[in-house]
Symmetry: C2
Subunit: 321 residues, 2 copies
């Protein structure tokens, strides 16, 4: 099952690709080549789609939308490039990561180049509130990255810290995609607050789904390798909940397997997760956030774009159960 | 001999330190700690000083100046942090580099944090021209970094490429420091163009001086280790000029020593540079740019701040001969 939005805003998504392509073209050939390697490789474009759908749902007809959506996608891409350098990840979007295909230096500097292109787009808006909202988000995301670094050396990540990190690293850019679209449409403060709550919950649900799929997904469906978080020693919600819900004996077993991070132990880890009913518990958390999403969508008038937004929410859930 | 500006704008430079300190303070303690390690360690503050002096020379009395100067210094600091990751440099401002004291991840992510703080400051200006000028500069600087990466694998760096890189990596931020100060003061286009030429030439002279001092400086005076560029295999103007001015035999000797980059060979390299009269030739180039600086300063009315700007130019030269 595919998302409704892909058809509904097909034209805008095509314009987005052209705009992204145009934005990263530079006199410095290497900058264009390396950034296009990742920017041109697709990805779900969920953040720009969110931005476009919200603006369309609020009846926007101006000329700034694709530029706004592009700046958000470029900001997202820049963080991915630097994330891969920091995590030493070898793959991204089914290809070698920039860091792996070239080296550290290319990852750092081309990441900076893509950031700078995002900032140039941001700086092009007439409305200073849009520029400030995007700059503040950039800062909160970057703080989230540093927070994650701080928490890396802890033996266990708390649920509170997990949510603090994903609020900054994932939910923030979702939030800003919806809020800036609202600002473009001169939304009221009540509307903006509703959009913010909606997109924040969507971002959290999106991240939780991603974390669940890393343990319970099917590689064929998701295109992603299962067990990557486990192997990289990344504390995500499945492990956090399983630890909370397990007997002390199983907690110790789980922690010891998690610390080793050996692929061959993954079935044992799954068995321990199942004993603690992890999937059920985590789906409860997930559905809490998708319900929040649906509730906050009430602020948006009924139209096809709103239906597409609801579809994103329910489509996320349908991939789980 | 010290720069006049340090006394003349002492109060503003103190305010700058407070503003920098304030800007990098964050809920995320590690972000503050690591960025303060470099931001708080001084440095010449030549770019913010330039910005402050130009605005004062043009009789600025508004409230935006320190914020502007801070955003420029933070942008500069962020590039230093990422430069050190990319070059794997172990020292910066006489201390261990962030990358060396912590690790790669801290360098990349705290660099991003400092960038994001620079952008937040930039985004705070009412005048969109200032925001756009700073965003464009960020992009040109980042393109310069990628260009340098492209040129790294070439066996020889041409003089043209050398100037293209320093124009982007060094002169650009000098230029923007002066131009944005001019924009704050509602300067005419002619004035802005004069400021731009002045600061660009100053940036180039500053970089050439830095490159000369790496071969001919005294560690006691500069606080920097001599021969670092040579050991790191960095093609700078002394080597480029020496190669141009040497016999074929000496060219080959020089290139072969340069490729090895052994500290013990440094005296031999200096001897080859001397045979080609490198210092004389490079000083000609240097003085071409300082003369340009002085000429372009004619656009600025005569006052103490202008004298301090002239002093920066002549002080640069006095450290050489």
């Amino acid at each position: 099952m595919d998302f409704i939005y892909k058809k509904l805003i097909e034209d805008e998504l095509k314009e987005l690709e052209l705009s992204l392509n145009d934005s990263i073209s530079s006199d410095i050939q290497l900058a264009t080549e390396v950034s296009n390697y990742l920017v041109g490789s697709g990805g779900k474009r969920i953040r720009p789609a969110l931005c476009i759908l919200v603006a369309k749902a609020l009846d926007y007809s101006g000329k700034d939308l694709i530029r706004l959506a592009s700046s958000i996608e470029l900001l997202h891409t820049a963080t991915l490039i630097h994330d891969d350098v920091v995590d030493e990840s070898l793959t991204r979007r089914g290809k070698e990561s920039i860091h792996a295909k070239w080296d550290n230096a290319h990852g750092v500097l081309v990441g900076d180049f893509v950031y700078s292109k995002a900032f140039q787009l941001m700086a092009s808006f007439e409305n200073p509130e849009i520029i400030r909202t995007l700059a503040d988000a950039t800062n909160r995301i970057s703080e989230g990255e540093v927070l994650q670094l701080t928490l890396k050396n802890q033996s266990i990540l708390s649920e509170k810290d997990y949510f603090e990190v994903i609020d900054r690293k994932t939910a923030e850019l979702f939030k800003v995609s919806a809020i800036t679209a609202g600002i473009l449409c001169s939304s009221t403060d009540t509307q903006l607050s509703g959009l913010s709550n909606f997109a924040k919950s969507l971002g959290i649900a999106f991240q939780i789904q991603d974390d669940i799929l890393d343990y319970y997904g099917e590689e064929k469906l998701t295109g992603k390798k299962i067990g990557k978080d486990f192997e990289e020693g990344k504390f995500t919600l499945p492990i956090i909940i399983a630890l909370k819900e397990s007997t002390e004996e199983n907690q110790n077993k789980l922690l010891s397997l998690f610390k080793k991070g050996e692929r061959e132990d993954f079935p044992k880890v799954l068995a321990l997760l199942n004993k603690a009913n992890t999937l059920e518990k985590i789906e409860e958390v997930f559905h809490h956030y998708t319900k929040e999403c649906m509730k906050e969508l009430n602020h948006i008038p009924q139209n096809d774009y709103k239906i597409a937004l609801e579809d994103i929410v329910s489509n996320l859930g349908s991939r789980l159960t």
